[in-house]
Symmetry: C2
Subunit: 315 residues, 2 copies
DNA sequence: TTGAAAGCGCTAACAT
DNA sequence: ATGTTAGCGCTTTCAA
């Protein structure tokens, strides 16, 4: 199953490989020669080897994307945005999932480097660490998503502001004692809590959706609550379910407020803080393409989408 | 920003490039030489160029995945499955979205071919057409997902069976007049309708979620209904919302049944037909890795997950 | 306008 | 056990 090479095309058209190369990449060639070459190309069904091309360019035309948890819908939109920009630059996306494991992240980033991706987008985790940093030092534009890292490009949400938006809305709805379920002690989560301005004792951490019921129980045990905030989209369904399963009525007993928009939010009437994930993906990819010399740190604005789950705004 | 090459490492270690290559790929080398080479590798921070390696192998170590609509959660799990197998074979995933456009699909498939992917997984669409077929003919293992195509590997759901499962459950719940919202006239959709055994007049097509309200109206106008089935996961939220927005009570007025499991189904009590998408992704990738000589067509079994949306099973 | 030839970074015989 | 020498498929001078 030998592949057709540029040499085969050249032979078939009776020209040199250099000429074929020129025809394909738009060099100066005589009209008649060009047609002869194109004919050869289509009759042999020639498909140029992009890998070989990349050797010359020094790097491939691919954008590497390393995702920490591909089961989060947040990332779907991010990837769509990246892919959109990639396609517009006839680039392709090389994707890898790290299953929330730091060692896998390092391995995947290294793999991307070996593939000589033209740029890397990492949602992370520990990516600020050696492998990514080394890539950046070697001249590969690297963009960190969801985290701000010194000396690297980054795309993130204004998490403190997200927290403040939530706090303000809750206050406007007359809610005074709010409990929080967050997903971790990572900066993106803690910043949201900080913006909310609740005491540390009002925060419970649920690493995974399975931990949500216990987290909700813990929250409910701390005393009477009139609002529950979920700071991670991965947890929203689980937290909401745990709440209703315990006979808590939303919004009559407690208000419910979550971070990240999701398809059923409208139907369920869940008020959320939305991130412009698709745009964030596009920007991340554009950063890779443009590869600015100085580190660029883009912070996106969260939006409050008011629905029914926090009750009426009083006054 | 010149990259470190195998030659640099060789010079630094005082050996030939062949020896360095042997050290990396596990050939016969003296212990002492090996350590010297490894030292050089780490002190120069050498990262071997995978592209160049692939030139020799004839193809890259990457699995190409072309997705018709990356906004569908169905594909998220599929990709996770693929990535899992890829990672286990230290392969990477090259992803492209076609935004539901056939011309883009052809272009993306061609791009994958130029990247010399070791195999291709396409969810499609028109992929049965020339570009994919040509790749398969050139010896690249190609797997079609969600469709059975002559002479190619394929991964699909037993759609007729899915329809039958739904029909049986609906009957068991005493529902007799069912209306269907489907997403297209493609085989995967029509087979589900066929399994349901409803007359053509009971079926409405909504191409996109935006079309769901109109589709539901059309359905409701055909006469009294006691069940609504949605045969596409992309449409479930929109159809359900349109239903409830019209004051229709589920399951009291009509039963609601959808294809494809989704995160909120449990909370909402929506009965669904689930596809083993993660496993389907894994199998697709395994097919690529194994690359069987004869076309393999794997058909997966749908599962009925009973919840509240169809009411009580009578008898 | 075209071809010959060198070389991109690496591997794989073939020598030694 | 190691080095030499061809390539892999393509691009890019440099001549003609």
């Amino acid at each position: 199953m030998k592949r057709v090479t540029i040499g085969d095309v050249a032979a078939h058209a009776g020209v040199s490989t250099a000429t074929v190369s020129r025809v394909i990449n738009g060099g100066v060639v005589a009209e008649t020669t060009a047609t002869r070459v194109w004919d050869a190309i289509s009759s042999l069904d020639y498909s140029p080897n992009a890998l070989t091309k990349s050797i010359f360019a020094g790097r491939s035309n691919t954008i590497g994307v390393v995702i920490r948890d591909l089961s989060s819908p947040f990332y779907l939109d991010l990837i769509r945005g990246i892919d959109e920009v990639a396609a517009a630059n006839n680039s392709l996306v090389m994707l890898a999932n790290t299953f929330r494991r730091d060692d896998r992240e390092a391995a995947q980033v290294r793999a991307m480097d070996e593939q000589r991706v033209r740029g890397l987008i990492v949602t992370t985790g520990a990516a600020a660490d050696s492998p990514t940093r080394r890539m950046a030092d070697n001249g590969t534009p690297c963009v960190i998503v969801s985290r701000v890292v010194d000396g690297m490009h980054s795309i993130s949400l204004d998490n403190v502001r997200a927290g403040e938006l939530m706090a303000a809305h809750l206050a406007a709805c007359g809610r005074t004692s709010v409990g929080v379920v967050s997903a971790s002690r990572r900066p993106s989560q803690t910043e949201r809590v900080q913006g909310l301005g609740v005491p540390e004792s009002a925060v419970t951490v649920a690493e995974a959706p399975e931990d949500a019921p216990a987290a909700v129980d813990a929250l409910l045990a701390t005393g009477p609550l009139d609002a529950v905030v979920c700071t991670s989209g991965r947890l929203t369904a689980a937290v909401y379910s745990a709440l209703t399963a315990r006979g808590v009525s939303v919004p009559d007993d407690v208000a419910f407020l979550a971070v990240d928009e999701f398809p059923w939010a409208e139907t369920l009437g869940v008020t959320v803080i939305a991130q412009p994930t698709y745009d964030m993906g596009k920007k991340a990819a554009e950063l890779v393409i443009e590869s600015p010399a100085e580190p660029v740190s883009l912070v996106f604005e969260p939006t409050l989408i008011v629905r029914r789950s926090c009750g009426e705004v009083s006054g």
